[in-house]
Each structure stands twice: as C-alpha cells, then as structure tokens.
C-alpha cells in the first residue's frame, strides 16, 4: 500500500546530459537577452551603474582617505565584488517566481532555474575582474599568479554563498512575497557593514570578528590582501572562508530540497 507521496522516474524519462547542458545554456542566453534587450549595448549600459557608483565614491572618499595610497584600488575590488553579491542574490531570490511560467506548465528541475539566474551577475563579475586587473597593472600593482589563483578561489567561494542564498530564498519568496523588500534593506545595510568604502583597520579590532560574519567581508578583505597588498591571508582565514561558503551552500541546498517540490503550487 502506498502511503507517503512519491514520484519515481527511470530509464529514458531522465533528461539526457546533452539536453540538460542545452537547457542550461539556453536559460543563460535567454536571460541575458531578455535583461539586456539582446544587445551588447544593453549589457554595457548595465555596467554603467556600478562604474558610475565607483567614480562617485572614489571622488568623495579618496579625499577622506587621502593618507591611504591604495584606497582607490581597494575600493574598486570591494565595490565590484559587492556588486556581484548584491545583484546575484537579488536575481536568485526572485528566480523561481520570475520563471514560474516554466514551473507550472512543464517539468524542469527548479535548481537549474535558480543557478542559471545568477549567470548575469557572473558575466558582469568576469568583465569587472578584467577591469580590476587593468587598474592594478596601470597603478603599478600587477598581481602575481598565486594572487590571481587565490582571487579566483575567493570568487568561487562568493559564488557558492550567492547560490546557497538563492536556493534557499527563491523557495521562501514564493511563500513570502515581500522578502525581496526585506532583502533590499539588508543589502543596503550590508553595504556599510562590509568594509567597502572604508578600510577595516579604522574600526577597533574587537569588532572585526563580527564584520567577518557577514559573508562578503572575508571575500573582499582576502581579495584586497592578495591583489593589492600582495599578502596571502592565513590558512586559518582560508579555512574559515571555505567552511563559511560550504555551510551557506549546504543550508541553501537543504532548504531548497525541502521547499522546491511544492514550488509550482505557490506560483
């Protein structure tokens, strides 16, 4: 006798790997096209927002922190990593709702919809990473190979944090439709909690621990240390970031697995 509800699939019912890869590529491509009106000009236009923010903040705060010669470089590293975090989490949070037209009419793994929704933020981060490198080289701070590898690792960790958050929040957003407004406030406050426009060392050291609990903080600080200061963070620091990212991703996966089977019912 059947009791708990279950669905089992077997044989050819499973999606072939090639078709799944095609689905992921199509979701990334169509999301890019819908967001930027299918033109490169639309994408460049979207880059102007964080770029203009950088110019404004640099103009204002570089006077305030004139004694710090690397302030501009630290600002650009922090700002672009933050932009990835903010844009990625916002897109991820609304991803299932935005693509509800697929969930209610066809059978598609919800995690694919969530993960691919972060793709635009990843593309932007890739472009900004090149911009960061140009700034570093032109300022006489060419990063070493180990610094570049470390930075790539930090970006992966931040990506895992963003995906973990998105997996959890996208299911919750279907139940609580003002979660995006709450998250907007958190992101706004988080911009000042993370040491983006100010150097962390202007705060008493006893507060540093609390700031490091906010996930973007270690990513930003470690990236600055490796790329700008040329100093590698400690192994303990790396371990902390790895555990932090793994916990965010794991919790996100667990919440997603719990909520996603009924996602279509809440759309």
């Amino acid at each position: 006798m059947a009791t708990a509800g279950s669905t089992a699939t077997s044989g050819s019912e499973r999606r072939p790997a090639l078709a799944r890869a095609g689905l992921i590529w199509t979701l990334v491509r169509t999301d890019f096209k819908a967001r930027y009106h299918g033109t490169l000009g639309g994408f460049v236009w979207a880059l102007l927002k964080p770029m203009s923010m950088f110019v404004v903040l640099m103009a204002v705060f570089s006077f305030l922190f004139a004694s710090k010669p690397t302030y501009k470089l630290n600002l650009i590293v922090g700002l672009f990593l933050w932009d990835f975090f903010a844009e990625g989490t916002k897109a991820g949070l609304t991803s299932l709702h935005a693509r509800g037209y697929l969930l209610t009419k066809t059978r598609v793994p919800p995690w694919i919809l969530v993960v691919t929704s972060v793709s635009n933020a990843v593309i932007t981060l890739a472009v900004f990473s090149v911009v960061i490198m140009i700034f570093l080289v032109s300022a006489g701070h060419p990063p070493s190979l180990s610094a570049l590898v470390a930075f790539a690792g930090y970006c992966v960790a931040l990506g895992a944090i963003v995906v973990g958050f998105s997996l959890a929040s996208s299911g919750l957003f279907l139940r609580y439709r003002d979660l995006n407004q709450v998250w907007d406030v958190v992101v706004q406050a988080g911009f000042f909690i993370a040491p983006i426009i100010y150097p962390l060392d202007i705060l008493p050291e006893r507060f540093h621990f609390y700031l490091y609990i906010w996930p973007p903080t270690p990513v930003i600080e470690f990236s600055r240390a490796a790329l700008v200061a040329g100093v590698m963070p400690t192994t303990t620091g790396h371990l902390y970031l790895a555990v932090d990212a793994a916990i965010c991703l794991l919790v996100g996966i667990l919440i997603h697995r719990r909520l996603s089977p009924r996602a279509a019912e809440y759309i």
Partner: protein, 247 residues
Amino acid sequence: MALITVDAVSKAFRIPTVRRDTIREHLFGLLQPRRFHQLQALDSVSFELRAGETLGIMGRNGSGKSTLLKVLCGIYAPDRGRVERRAAVTPILDLGVGWNPELDAVDNVFLIGSVMGLSLREIRRSMDEILAFAELQEFANLKLAHYSSGMSSRLAYAVAFRAVREVLVLDEIFAVGDAGFRQRCEERYRQLHAQGHTVLLVSHDPNIVKSFCDRALLLDHGRIVREGSPGEIADSYVTTLTHRISD
C-alpha cells in the same frame, strides 16, 4: 507494459480563510488565527498508462483532471501514493506551455524545446518546421508579448508535437486555432499514434474521446468513478452532466 503507473495517489490543497502572502501579513495576523479548508483534489487514484495506447480522461470542472495531469507530469508532488514514470513525458497543459513574453518566438522555441528535452541541434534543425506548423514564419522575430493567445497556443502545440519523445500529455487537445490548424494537429496526432507514441488526453468533448482514445476514465470529486471504452465513458459523462442540469 505500463509506461506510467499511478498508485493510490491523493492530493489535497489547504485553502485558508484569509490569504497571507507576505511577512507583514503573517506578522500582523499572529493574533488572528485563520482556518483552513481541505480541498481533496485527488482521492486514491490508481491506473496505468500502457505503451502505445491513447487514454482519455473526462470529468466535470473541478473533478481533479488538471491536478491529476500535473501530478502525473511531475509538476505537483502527490501527498500520498506513488507515480512511477518509465518514459519521457511531454506535457501541453492549460492550452499552452509557458512562454517568456519578453523573448521572440525563436528564442521561446529554444527555451521550451530545451525544457522538453530537445538538444540545441534538434531545435535548430526543426525551427522552420515548427514555425511552419504554427503558421508563424513571418512573426518569428516578434516578442511573444505581442502574440494573441491563439498564436501562442499554436506555437505551443507545434513545439510539443516536435518534442514528444514517448508520452504526450494533452489538456483539451484540438481546442485551439482555426479548422486548418486543428486538422494539422489531428494529422500529426495520428502520425504519432501510428509511430507507437503513448498519449494521455483530457477533454470535455465526447466526440474527441470517442475518435482518438483506445480507453477512457471518468473522474468525479477526485476519484475514478468509471473506467471503460471511450464510447461508454463519453456517454456516462454526458449522462452525468444531463442529470446535474435536470437536478
């Protein structure tokens, strides 16, 4: 051989007396507890869909047909019971497949085709055929937001008929488009049937069930109340409706 087995599947929806969709509404409603009504959409439904057959499902509005199709396609999870799928299922539900209105027809075909399991190469190869079937070649680069509901539905059928791998699940087949489009759908359906594809078809039209199905089920209040030949089920369905009207 059964391609889909539905074993004692039940599905209920909890309908609250007051809807609360936001954190604010939940917080402000903490001191005002609400009641929930249990809507039993499916109640211990069991049947098998055998390879190569066309199974028709009939029933009044609210009898659980759409919920059954969604559970069967894996869109809804059952509360109790078990659905076992041994073949790829291509659904066309609610006269559509789910479009992104901000994309044109070509990109939507890529999107839906990919979701339905076609590879990018298969979609590229079939694009002209799909657009021709839907008679939408000249509107291929128009955003779906500017399509009429009939145009969207024609495109949906065209993609799904091309994408079907083993089992096709159809909600109200042949209810869209003009006579010419319906005739093309019927021809395509007969081709698929001749090729050995399996079809699950929901319809309110007794003639469609009699013409296209090998066997049929009658649903009422979330239960299968009768199972038999398409003619018997279509007649029972009409009788049920007639009694209800005369009552």
